[in-house]
Symmetry: C2
Subunit: 243 residues, 2 copies
């Protein structure tokens, strides 16, 4: 991991861009930390530059609670090379949605499964690098979207102790089955009127998670309309489980 730039935000948070091989990422650490900070991995749907305003908002919130926060670019997003197969799957999905047709499971599989297969080891490599920094300790939480990545990480990565998952993307049947193996505490956010989300699938997925502590917070509004108080509640969940 190589740091490529560094700046102090107005609230004192230190923001550093890094490169992990070919993968760009951003690390935020609290203004003042007396001990190594717990870490929140900030998931997103891809496109660091486009997503930056929302990511930095979530990172500042985490830093104010005493957490370091980090994110990396997803395979095929932003400046990273895209794959022909993924682009084809994305086009097929768009066509189905525009035609108002039900989306074939086969399209979802083609779109999401390769992404999960590729992204999860990258998040794990990022975790190796981040946890070797003296200013970052543990435990680690995962927060975010592409819920399928969150599910797989929760199953395969024992260093992740708790997760805030955003319902609101297509979930392959295989990941649905993996959800039953998740045992860490979960806090699931569901936007009740999310135009791109199948509400019943999100409820079924919540039901499927194997965790003994799991909470669903459903709020009105569309995909990007998570209310401030719901963000606060998610932050409190991490404070309960990562401190």
């Amino acid at each position: 991991m190589q740091f490529t730039s560094e700046q102090r935000l107005d609230d004192g948070v230190l923001e550093r861009e890094f490169a992990l091989g070919e993968i760009p990422g951003i690390l935020w650490t609290p203004a003042s930390a007396s001990a190594p900070a717990p870490l929140v991995l900030i998931g997103h749907p891809g496109g660091l530059r486009k997503m930056y305003p929302r990511l930095v908002g979530r990172a500042r919130h985490s830093a104010a609670d005493g957490f370091a926060a980090a994110t990396i670019e997803l395979p095929g997003s932003g400046d990273r090379p895209s794959s022909v197969a993924t682009e084809q799957a994305r086009a097929d999905l768009r066509r189905a949605l525009e035609a108002g047709e039900p989306v074939d499971e086969e399209i979802v599989d083609r779109l999401v499964l390769p992404l999960v297969e590729k992204a999860v080891p990258e998040w794990q490599a990022a975790l190796d690098a981040l946890l070797s920094l003296p200013e970052i300790g543990g435990p680690v939480g995962y927060s975010g979207g592409v819920i399928s990545i969150g599910i797989r990480l929760a199953v395969v990565e024992p260093r992740i102790s708790a997760a805030v998952l955003f319902a609101g993307s297509f979930v392959p049947r295989a990941l649905f089955e993996e959800a039953r193996q998740v045992t860490i505490p979960l806090h699931v956010l569901l936007q009740w009127d999310d135009e791109g989300n199948d509400r019943q699938l999100a409820l079924d997925l919540f039901d499927a998670f194997g965790s003994k502590e799991k909470t669903l917070h459903a709020n009105l509004g569309g995909h990007t309309g998570v209310p401030q108080f719901a963000g606060d509640a998610a932050a409190q969940f991490f404070t309960r489980h990562l401190k």
Copy 2:
């Protein structure tokens, strides 16, 4: 309203039992209050004595947040005279549940509608009396079960500004329709594995509420297993809306 007893709890909260005509009730006020306190009405399924340990726990939590809290006995519960028709409906419900049969809407109507018709004006009378006390100001929140009473109160009582509703009892179709007229902010608690609760009905009811701000918090566990953190989140909802 006549106070019939008074004691200081160990945390300084003043607990006073009262009688509102034939209706017994309990009022809790914070240990120290510089200004008239907002009021939380604490709903419950009936039987003040049996429910006391849970009620006083909720009242202490409210008092710690600076709220007064009050409750009254339900018609037909505790020492209040029961009605033959309600007892018959309750027996019919029990029989259906024990036989594992679906519960007829007609039984739910006979059980719940007369309770709502009678209880809601009593809560309003209690509100008149409580708000005339110098130590209680407003605004007022309703917190609790018999969700049908909460729905009707939210529709007909303009002094109630926000409500925490516990999904988990049978809801007559007529109240389901009234839910669409509710416009105050709502915080709905759903115990995901509540043995006596129809989960799909609770989700449909949440969907029906007309409020622009409504949040559903679903947690694992049975009817009385609301986790501590979920109680804290409900308290924060009142702090946001009643202060």
